[in-house]
């Protein structure tokens, strides 16, 4: 026997610490800290203050939800471009039902979740029954949903959602941070657990990485993909509820601006924690990395177009980085 084959588990754990691997896994976390430090030095009065930090944490919970929604189908090998539209229609459903029709906010929230489920089922049906690439289907359904939102809102912002929702999302705080942040954190932990510690998570991963391998290992590939698309739509609907609670209103357009940041966070997040895989903790870190960058630059008086530079740049750079991690293998999403 060679030294390799006599290696014991203990030896494997203690023998060598793989610094390169650790560096790769936590580079984004380090970058986040450095970025925060830079702004803290440049803007010592305004940036490193508790109100600012807690606002950043609370206001971007919606984005965390949305990027978590996205990494589920990305892991199983499908794109979902309809998540931002789902978020918008979910928020709008609450506003229309609660404000215009006087439905209790709890019922409106349930209705919003149902809308999410219907969208997920429609996406899944077209992708799996007709075998259309998910990119095309969700691009189409996303635009379609936007149309519905404009129709049901008559293209107007609807304000005055029951304050109970606002109260439970951003007004109430725990340790000074709006509750929305903790909801996002819980969602993140749930997905982390499902991805890492359940058979469902393993199936998701194998379906995304090797559809044929998964099929021949007895996994019902279509069922897994359908489940992933349902999941992303439902989490996006949850994001819509949080969004409605965050601003206390619903407008037919602003939700759509979350699509690119969600993609940027998902892909940037895939370069961290477990490099090369979409993972919830990485996405969480990525969201706040981007938010720190944008908030800091905005505070320095740089114009709003910087947001687009930052999001767009982060998406392409993140994908480029993750390709370096994968040694520039051909990507096979779809």
């Amino acid at each position: 026997m060679t030294a390799q084959s006599t290696e014991t588990p203990v030896a494997a754990k203690t023998s060598r610490v793989n610094w390169a691997h650790i560096g790769e896994s936590y580079a984004l976390v380090a970058a986040l800290i450095v970025l925060f430090g830079v702004f803290a030095i440049v803007l010592p009065d305004r940036f490193p203050t508790w109100p600012n930090v807690s606002t950043m944490l609370g206001s971007q919970a919606v984005l965390v939800f949305l990027s978590l929604a996205l990494i589920v189908p990305l892991t199983s090998g499908d794109f979902d471009l309809s998540i931002a539209a789902t978020l918008t229609i979910s928020a709008m459903t609450i506003a229309v039902l609660n404000v215009r029709m006087g439905v209790p906010v709890g019922v409106a929230m349930l209705a919003a979740l149902c809308v999410g489920a219907v969208i997920g089922a429609i996406n899944g049906f077209f992708i799996l029954f007709f075998r259309i690439p998910s990119l095309i289907v969700t691009l189409g359904t996303g635009t379609f949903i936007n149309g519905i939102v404009l129709w049901m809102s008559k293209s107007a912002t609807i304000g005055g959602i029951d304050f109970a929702l606002v109260n439970w999302v951003v007004a109430k705080r725990f340790m000074g941070i709006p509750l929305a942040f903790y909801y996002a954190l819980i969602m993140c932990l749930v997905i982390w657990y499902v991805f890492g510690f359940t058979a469902v998570g393993r199936r998701l991963l194998f379906v995304g990485r090797g559809r044929e391998v998964a099929r021949l290992s007895g996994i019902n590939v279509d069922k897994v993909r359908f489940g992933a698309l349902m999941c992303s739509a439902m989490i996006a609907a949850l994001a819509g509820i949080v969004y409605a609670g965050t601003i206390g209103a619903a407008d037919p357009n602003s939700g759509n601006t979350f699509l690119l940041p969600a993609f940027a966070s998902a892909f940037l997040g895939a370069t961290a924690i477990t490099p090369g895989r979409f993972n919830p903790i990485g996405s969480l870190v990525a969201v706040y990395f981007i938010v720190i960058g944008i908030t800091g630059l905005t505070m320095m008086g740089i114009q709003t177009f910087v947001q687009n530079l930052f999001y767009g740049g982060a998406l392409v750079l993140a994908v480029a980085l993750s390709q370096l991690v994968r040694k520039r293998e051909e990507q096979s999403l779809n």
Binding site: T2, Q4, S5, E7, T8, P9, A12, Y193, G196, F197, T198, A199, R202, L205, F206, R209, G210, E212, V213, R215, L216, S217, G218, I219, N220, G276, R326, E329
Partner: protein, 552 residues
């Protein structure tokens, strides 16, 4: 048959292999240089010498067959000549009497008038015939004004010349397999014509016939005859001895990477070919456990299975039996496994396993696993395992349910389990966190074998289990199979490797045209018998005497 040299008589037996082939070639005109003369071609993959000083001479206007068992090096030889592999130093390539660069640079073969038709034809099914015919031109030339009318006329002209009646505007996907082969070959020939002057040109066809019906084969041969009429040469790689004897002038046979001989096809009979292909090597030591008793418990009965390439196959497999399925490529023996497991749809058939009879139509891999079947596909990192995920993740996939604790999946338990399997099956390096893709072929196969063996399947089905696996790892895999069969697992192995089947199988079924045509068991199971029967299976009647000559 075809334009053959007048002086075939001087093609006499020569017992000394050497580079000086030029003296004994069938020339049409005195002093004619061979279209292609390759001398001393060697190729090493890793530590295996797949080609060892092979010579090949093809005359202008000749159809030259290239035969050999699987792994004999024929594909490597043509790919080396076509510039797809770099040869080891020492070989040389002479085209029409002039030295050619060897290794051939990219695109060099094309410029020298050598064109290569791969078995998979390299056609794009969703495009039209015209677009496919123009593919190579479009790929390398800048053309800002394609004239589709002229292109269509040109394609029609080419088809007319060869008497083909294919609509140039049809989509390739809508055409029959035979038509597709004809298109690929005319395209390659047209390319050769553009680059080689005076009717020169060498067309290499890599096993174009296995998937063709007889009528298609005849059409194809008609096309080959018109191609060589103009003076071009064709090298035809094939498995089917009768086809080789029908269409080629001479044939070169490789065995274990060495030249076994070159024969004049019309003068060599089937037995002579089989003898050259198989050789007279002593069979290897047999490591199989004793065959189960003929009245042992039947693990699975497959009845009347029909699927793609499979036509009404029935057989039983017993507890602890290792049953081999073999045949030439395209005879459907490998599809039996896929159809039984539900990996490809079956048209008819039933299986009786675990006391239950169920239809094979509508079988799914999940349902197959539930009855205790396991299937290890030949495509190791495409279908069997995911290279980008770790060894532990690949192994744990089918047994996730066993590793639950209060927190969900017990990763520490999986780690220990994988280390134990790694020790048991000698996986090197035994580090479960390593990506599967980082392992060598043999070790990756050990991992994938362990993935299925740990489920203690009733029926384990393996497709080409030792493809690309080195000899050492191969023995370890065989040992693992023997252990499994000793525990009562029925093992079904599909392979074209007669040596491997001889080493492990209790019984071997030989396929031809989707049916079982021969069953070998007991003392009949050795490498030579399996090889011979595989080749003989193509035509039932045996033929006459040995009156042929051998070069080198």
């Amino acid at each position: 048959m075809m334009a053959k040299g007048p002086d075939l008589s001087d093609h006499l037996p020569r017992r000394t292999p050497g580079p000086d082939l030029s003296d004994h070639l069938p020339r049409r005109t005195p002093g004619e240089a061979p279209a292609l003369l390759a001398r001393g071609v060697s190729k090493i993959f890793g530590t295996t010498k797949v080609l060892d000083g092979v010579d090949l001479a093809v005359m202008p206007g000749e159809v030259h067959g290239l035969l050999g068992a699987n792994g004999s090096g024929k594909s490597t030889l043509i790919k080396t000549i076509a510039g797809l592999h770099a040869p080891e130093p020492g070989g040389e390539l002479i085209l029409y009497g002039q030295g050619a660069p060897f290794p051939m640079p990219a695109g060099g073969a094309r410029r020298h008038g050598i064109s290569f038709v791969h078995q998979h034809l390299a056609l794009m099914p969703s495009l039209t015939v015209i677009e496919n015919m123009m593919l190579n031109d479009l790929a390398v030339e800048q053309n800002w004004g394609i004239r589709w009318g002229a292109a269509k006329r040109k394609v029609e002209e080419i088809f007319d010349r060869f008497g083909l009646t294919i609509d140039p505007t049809a989509r390739v996907a809508d055409l029959s397999q035979s038509d597709r082969a004809l298109i690929a070959i005319t395209r390659a020939f047209d390319e050769v014509q553009t680059h080689g002057a005076d009717g020169r040109g060498i067309l290499i066809l890599d096993e174009p016939t296995p998937f063709l019906p007889r009528s298609g084969v005849e059409q194809l041969f008609g096309l080959i005859r018109s191609v060589v009429e103009g003076g071009a040469s064709v090298i035809l790689v094939a498995h089917d001895i009768d086809e080789i004897r029908e269409i080629t002038d001479r044939a070169t046979i490789l065995r274990d990477g060495k030249l076994a001989g070159t024969v004049v096809s019309a003068e060599a009979d089937r037995e002579r070919f089989i003898e050259l292909i198989v050789g007279e090597k002593v069979s290897l030591f047999k490591s199989a456990t004793p065959a189960p008793a003929a009245d042992g418990t039947v693990t699975a009965s497959i009845r009347d299975l029909s699927a793609d390439q499979v036509d009404g196959v029935s057989f039983d497999i017993r507890e602890g039996e290792i049953l081999g399925l073999t045949g030439l490529i395209g005879t459907g023996f490998d599809k039996v496994l896929e159809a039984t497991y539900g990996a490809i749809p079956a048209q008819t058939g039933t299986i009786e396993i675990a006391g239950q009879k169920r239809p094979l139509t509508g079988m799914t891999p999940g349902a197959a696993m539930d009855t205790g079947m396991a299937f290890l596909p030949a495509d190791r990192l495409g279908k069997a395992g995911v290279g980008g995920l770790s060894i532990a993740e690949n192994i744990a996939l089918p047994v996730m349910g066993r590793f639950r604790n209060v927190f969900g999946i017990d990763w520490a338990g999986i780690q220990d389990h994988c280390l134990e399997l790694g020790r048991k099956y000698d996986i090197r390096p035994n580090r479960p966190a390593l990506d599967l893709g980082a392992l060598s072929g043999g070790n990756a196969q050990k991992v994938l074998m362990a993935k299925w063996l740990q489920t203690d399947p009733r029926l384990l089905m393996l497709d080409e289990p030792t493809q690309g696996v080195d000899v050492g790892a191969r023995q370890r895999l065989f040992q693992a199979l023997s252990e499994a069969s000793a525990k009562g697992t029925a093992v079904l192995v599909a392979s074209t490797d007669a040596e491997q089947l001889a080493q492990i199988c209790h019984r071997v079924l030989i396929f031809s045209a989707g049916r079982i045509v021969k069953e070998l068991s007991g003392s009949d199971i050795d490498k030579d018998t399996i090889s011979q029967e595989t080749f003989r299976a193509q035509v039932p009647e045996a033929e006459g005497h040995h009156d042929t000559q051998e070069v080198a």
